[in-house]
Amino acid sequence: MKKFALVTSSLIIAAATAAAADGSAASYTADAAQSRLEFFGVQAGAEFKGVFHKFTSSVDFAPDALAGSKIDVQIDMNSVDSMDKDRDTTIRGKDVFDVAHNPTAHYATKTITKTAAGFAAVGALTLHGVTKDVPIEFQFTPAGGGAKLSGSAKLNRLEFGVGQGDWKSTDTVGDAVKINFSLVLKPKS
């Protein structure tokens, strides 16, 4: 009995020490009203910007506990807004996002590493029913009890089958898409 108590307490101490040395990731959710998710495409040689109005984010993050950190974003593809109704209808349609069959996109990081400028992550993006790894770069700035997480990514839309039929050609709509995000994080209650 005595021996058991000893083992248990040493385990507890060991675990506590490990946590202290490694830090532990704090859990956040993004404030929907203040967070932004934007994308930039090239159409007819000129850049255009679109945003997703609806997305939910769940972030576990601590700069000194990257192994236990994770960014997870779920995007409502119907909430796309490129500031033109005609273009939005086309984007939601079956040849582009096909929101009827793929109403959501999902991004979840697998690994996060420290870089000179901030952090880099590789995560799995499921878009248009296709899952592929997409790297992102971001900065994490603690603010009050929460934090701001902002960064960017690049992807090629055709790798996800975004653009069928006429839209497969990159003459009119470019393959490369830039993504900017800015998440205003609040501690998870």
């Binding site: 159409q43 040689g45 000129a46 910007k49 500031m83 033109d84 003459d171 009119t172």
Partner: protein
């Protein structure tokens, strides 16, 4: 230069401006109105992409042409024309200049209002003149379309007038704008 007598022919520069812009306007009318009837899709966008690049080319040429015109006198209208005929001819030419600016500018504003920025042959992007605005787009589109028919009517009048001068009045009004022709010295 100020004391020189007016030239009898349009200079090579004036002719180049006239014929290059004329050819571009024919191209624009064709591209614009054939695109109008295409369904929304890649083909329509590609056609309007050319339309916008040519349109911005016309706007640039119009600026250069107007500047050039301010410092270079055109040949005078034939002495045989009545005062009212001369006034009407000048009014038609002023209207051409106005449309040379208004057509590309309304087109450029249309693109801005629709948040489809204008590229110049994919080399660079012109800044947006106004923010995304559906109402403004619809109004600008109606203006652009309507003025294209005014320009069409004016061009038709212009061509008929040139032919009338050449075949009916038998003066040099047409020939002095044609390259590779000679105009006789006017007495």
């Amino acid at each position: 230069m100020p004391n020189q007598s007016p030239p009898t022919r349009y200079s090579a520069v004036a002719q180049a401006f006239h014929w290059i812009i004329a050819a571009l306007i024919v191209t624009q009318f064709t591209l614009g109105w054939t695109a109008e009837f295409l369904p929304l899709g890649a083909r329509k966008l590609a056609r309007l992409d050319w339309h916008k690049s040519f349109g911005m080319t016309i706007l640039t040429l119009a600026v250069l042409r107007l500047l050039w015109r301010l410092f270079n006198r055109p040949p005078e209208l034939p002495a045989g024309m009545t005062a009212i005929e001369k006034k009407l001819a000048r009014a038609a030419h002023v209207l051409f200049y106005v449309l040379l600016f208004v057509m590309p500018l309304t087109g450029w504003m249309m693109s801005s209002a629709k948040n489809y920025s204008v590229s110049w042959f994919h080399q660079f992007t012109w800044p947006n003149l106004i923010g995304p605005n559906e109402q403004a787009f619809n109004l600008l589109r109606t203006t652009h379309d309507t003025l294209s028919w005014l320009l069409f009517a004016l061009a038709l009048l212009h061509i008929l007038a040139a032919l009338k001068h050449h075949f009916w009045n038998k003066d040099d009004v047409l020939k002095r704008m044609l390259p590779f022709t000679k105009t006789e010295k006017r007495s």
